[in-house]
Amino acid sequence: MARSEIGSVFARAAADQRLAVMPFLVAGDPSIEETVRLAEACAAGGADLIEIGWPFSDPIADGPTIQAASKRALDRQVGRAEVLEVLTQVRRRTGLPVLLLSYLNVLLSMNDLGPLKAAGVCGLIIPDLALDEPAAIRVRARALDLPVIPFAAPTSTDQRLSEIGRTIDPDAFVYCVSLLGVTGQRQAVSQAALGLLQRARERIAAPLAVGFGISGPDAVSAVSRHADGVIVGSALIDLVQRQGRKAAVAVERFVADLVHAGHR
């Protein structure tokens, strides 16, 4: 059942005394088949959940790596049908829960979100949908039992964090943005991340996952005692770009290292 999927991911990781590891890939980059293969490599490395990004022409929350990945996918004519295909395949071949990250305009262009549900998506991450916007998309997602994952940022006030805690969908986690900035690798985890996690923990009962700027095992271990999960995107995509044909093997090892580093 989709509703319990995200919850069981965090429950299982907590029982193992480690962070849930959630790799992020852009659908169709470098190709549909490769995205699926890389997701399988993530699963083999011990990933708990796969996050798939819908390539968008104007990704304002993303840094150079994911911008370039989105552009490569769009240049290869990756559209709705291809994204649905990737989601379906990733779900089927990995057996893991799959979250869809999409900018709002793409979702607004779908008359019906049913095909996402049918493709096995268990939740939505919408980087340009903030908490207080009374968007119809939330109603449509809820009608399908698709939780919308809320964001928290270092700039979020205590009051906003409490509001996130009050309004969060039952099966969701909070996506904690580790820094002031867009996605992309950073040297180290910022002090701001730890401060945010502490403030969020005091006000939110749902699991906390950290994303943006998580570059590798060191960053994961730096947050392992403060969070419940990590999202790793740009570092993974950079690795795939560097490794080319050998990417799957490298990705499996990288994810395994992340899982290992997440043990408390």
């Binding site: 305009n105 779908m110 207080d132 940022a153």
Partner: protein, 399 residues
């Protein structure tokens, strides 16, 4: 139809705040600072002081008699925003936002620019108020508007060429938003049009409304009555919103003119005519997009109109029917620019020429004894090189 947005910045079903969570507190802070400032007579007096002594307001409302006579129709009046310091209406907004920035205790400015006029206006106030400034500009626009790039640099601003996407205004805004997310603690993003997340559309329109307020009292003084028609170009829509808003409750017709580029069935920037509602750059509004919600690249010879979005208040005005939105091709704009230049000795910006073209057409249609006020939003010096390239390429054409 409401003339102000609700507390969340919604103009009917348009507007709002569709941005990453990181920016929300900065928007709350800006909203609070803006509301307080507009209720503070000291702030309003300071804004008026700089508008009068620095920008040179009020700008002239000029009766274009020669052009009127040549066309033989309605009387055409030009609201001469091109005579403002820096040569366009953009400075009305940047002075207001710079004063707000100081009020919020921030000391760095970033901005996007298309034609470079908003970039120059931001660089200008940054110099005036001694703030650090960085302007993001699409690489294609850097090429088209090299004069304005040099102007910004001479004013002490760093100009960053944006190489992503269509390398025009849309991409400059993406990059400015990304830069703002990373610097939001000490930096204010001076959005240059009536677009973006709340409170920008309302705030920019408020600072630009000085255009319509002046035009209203000037035309009453000159003709003893309100005009029959207002005409302004619409890219994001700030000069149009500034001219139109003070007349919303009057029996005055209004036309916003979008860029039809090479034609509505070819490459264009006619967002309200050919787009559909969506979310781009922080607000719900009309957007040029494909069926799957990917944003399309706009096209206009005029860099300032080359944008696939539009301010949310214009979307409301379109839906309510209060304002009619027309469009004008590159060729019609160039032709109007040359006609105005050679009858009145006024070389206007390519953006403004779109409004002039529509005004000429409407003057013929309305006939004598009617009056039209056209917003001449900027001067054309910046466009001379691009115009030369265009005329060179179309030497055998009709122009």
């Amino acid at each position: 139809m409401p003339t102000e947005p609700d507390a969340g910045g919604h103009f009917g079903e348009f507007g709002g705040r569709f941005v990453p969570e990181t920016l929300i507190p900065a928007l709350d802070q800006l909203q609070a600072a803006f509301s307080e400032a507009m209720a503070d007579s000291t702030f309003l007096a300071e804004l008026e002081y700089w508008n009068r002594t620095y920008t040179g307001r009020p700008s002239l409302l000029y009766h274009a008699r020669a052009l009127t006579e040549r066309i033989g129709g309605a009387e055409i009046y030009l609201k001469r925003e091109d005579l403002n310091h820096t040569g366009a209406h953009k400075i009305n907004n940047t002075i207001g936002q710079a004063l707000l920035t100081r009020r919020m205790g921030k000391h760095k400015l970033i901005a996007e620019t298309g034609a470079g006029q908003h970039g120059v206006a931001t660089a200008t106030v940054a110099a005036l108020f001694q703030m650090e400034c960085e302007v993001f500009m699409g690489a294609e626009d850097v090429r088209r508007q090299s004069l304005n790039v040099r102007r910004m640099e001479l004013l002490g601003t760093r100009v960053t060429a944006v190489e992503s996407g269509s390398r025009t205004l849309k991409d400059a805004i993406n990059e400015a938003l990304r830069a703002w997310v990373a610097s939001v603690g000490d930096t204010h993003y001076v959005i240059g049009s009536v677009m973006g997340p709340h409170p920008f559309p309302k705030m920019v329109r408020t600072f630009q409304s000085v255009i319509g307020q002046e035009a209203r009292s000037q035309i009453l003084e000159m003709t003893g009555r309100l005009p029959d028609l207002l005409v302004a170009a619409v890219g994001g829509g700030s000069n149009a919103a500034g001219l139109f808003h003070p007349f919303l409750d009057d029996a005055v017709a209004m036309v916003g003119v979008e860029a039809a580029g090479e034609g509505l069935d070819a490459r264009h920037a006619a967002t309200l005519s050919r787009g559909r509602p969506g979310v781009l750059h922080g607000a719900r509004s009309y957007v040029l997009q494909d069926e799957e919600g990917q944003i399309l690249e706009a096209h206009s010879l005029s860099a300032g109109l080359d944008y696939p979005g539009v301010g949310p208040e214009h979307s409301l005005w379109k839906e309510s029917g209060r304002v009619r939105y027309a469009s004008c091709t590159d060729q019609q704009a160039v032709s109007a620019l040359i006609q105005l230049s050679q009858t009145e000795g006024v070389l206007c910006a390519l953006e403004s020429a779109h409004a002039v073209a529509e005004a000429i057409e409407q003057a013929r249609r309305l006939g004598p004894k009617k009056t039209i006020v056209v917003c001449l939003s900027g001067r054309g010096d910046k466009d001379v090189e691009e115009l030369n390239r265009y005329l060179e390429a179309h030497r055998d054409g009709q122009i």
